[in-house]
Point group: C2
Chain length 295, copies 2
């Protein structure tokens, strides 16, 4: 007996789905972080843990691991040969390591052409036109990822300090954020000093919350950010209407705020990235087209 | 015999000037970093090293150190009681620890009212109106310091990646920066991953250089940045004309680019921050007004 494995992995954790050769999911499992850019060995161990958990959930002997045809979507797979390195380290019968954007695209759009924008802590664009898959953005918090939660949350802290100094107008939102730091701007600086992108990202939902109440600073921040996202769409989408899905934790928040041109193209994602990985495993390794479980 | 000591210290090093009670400098000395926010003990040791070097240069027995009246200007002196803590740890007869901005202000403006903007790796505003000294900005690279070299250099790398993705227009400047990274955007990401604010700041002069050649991206970046600096000036300067000096490595580059309103107030700094510290030592500890050596 041979199985398909889909895996969706990144800095916050891995999810694996074991499926039959038609792509029907038999069991899923989770484990820790799989950051192949910073720690290939830990990533490998956590990938195997998640796989073992999926076998267990499916009630299948994990001794079958070596028979598996696997598709893995991992951040950084397209950098410096990381994907090929990991493929060589895995015990599966066959392994294909893609960028996480590829499985997210497949999950969200199925076999349709179009663009997905992954708006989580970071931001990245993946576009499919026929057999061509293109990536844009997603270069990370420090020099890219406009519209992502980390940049938006960081912008909110910056506006709070600019309001404190009276360089920019204050608003109920900047007053509330300053209050969250005990009214002490030095505590914002301390927080920022050691904040990870995810830490900054915890402030992003506050901007949407206050924009809904017409807070002037929140509205201005989102106007700027939506302009940035749409410049990305202008560059990545063809002029003809295509499918567009916004993914990630902020995707559903940004959707209704897009201009009418792009709102008209918006489609809810068909499936998640893990399902996309299983579909691609079925596509690449099985004779028949994938029929996958939704959700 | 009693001496005055002025000291200008920060993350990159300390400079000390030993002076007589009239403020005439007798000798100067240098040593390593004095970052009282991260390592108070090392800061103390380097302050004493620079002091000893100044005594040596002046040909005076360093045994006189305990007779000294000292004014020290150090970044972070106004945060969390750091200044008072350091004062208690120093072996001088009397010590006053001020924020680095205070000695820079005194050096640049002498006894005049006005504003200095310190435009180095970071950016900070110090304003004197009579006895009142106010600080603004200067909260650090991550959430503040608009117009500083670190933010400007980082912006240039961001624009280079946006141009690579065709989200924003490219220009000779963005092409030259990409070329500096071997045409490989992943190398920009790698650089940014471990770059310090100073590392980002090494790219700031490139923006001025290309703006002088009318590079459209460079001109747009500086227009944005000068707007940010002037919003800071609008908030910190009184409506009536005051003295304005731009200090730091980028001060002289920004000066000619300010709008006519602020350009009309611009004055070359009278003296450097170390001289400002000596002046303040004379002011605080000696009977007669300071007459300090220039330069």
């Amino acid at each position: 007996m041979t199985y398909l494995l889909g895996l969706d992995g990144g800095g916050t954790g891995c999810r694996a789905a074991l499926a039959d050769l038609s792509g029907n999911v038999l069991g899923t499992g989770k484990s820790g972080s799989a950051n192949i850019m910073t720690d290939m060995n830990t990533a490998r161990l956590n990938i195997l843990d998640a796989t073992e958990a999926a076998f267990k959930k499916a009630g299948i002997d994990a001794g079958q691991t070596k028979t598996v045809f696997a598709v893995l979507g991992l951040a950084g797979a397209n950098v410096g040969g990381n994907g090929a390195k990991l493929e060589a380290m895995l015990p599966f019968q066959k392994s294909l390591v893609y960028s996480d954007g590829v499985i997210a695209l497949q999950g969200a759009l199925g076999d349709h052409d179009g663009t997905v924008v992954i708006l989580g802590t970071g931001s990245a664009y993946v576009t499919r036109l026929g057999k061509d898959i293109r990536f844009a953005g997603g270069w990370g918090f420090k020099v890219s990822d406009l519209g992502g939660g980390a940049r938006l949350g960081r912008d909110l802290l910056e506006e709070t300090l600019l309001a404190y100094d009276k360089f920019h107008p204050s608003s109920p939102m900047t007053a509330a954020v300053l209050e969250r730091f005990g009214g002490n701007p030095h505590r914002i600086v301390q927080f920022a000093h050691s904040a990870t992108p995810s830490d900054f990202g915890t402030f992003a939902p506050t901007v949407f919350e206050y924009a809904a109440k017409n807070d002037a600073v929140a509205v201005a921040l989102l106007d700027k950010t939506i302009g940035q996202i749409e410049r990305g769409l202008d560059a990545t989408m063809s002029p003809a209407p295509m499918r567009l899905s916004l993914l990630g934790g902020l995707g559903a928040l940004y959707g209704p705020l897009l201009s009418p041109h792009y709102r008209a193209m918006l489609q809810a994602p068909l499936n998640d990235a893990l399902t996309g990985a299983v579909q691609l495993a079925a596509r690449n390794f099985a004779a028949t087209p994938a029929e996958t479980a939704h959700g």
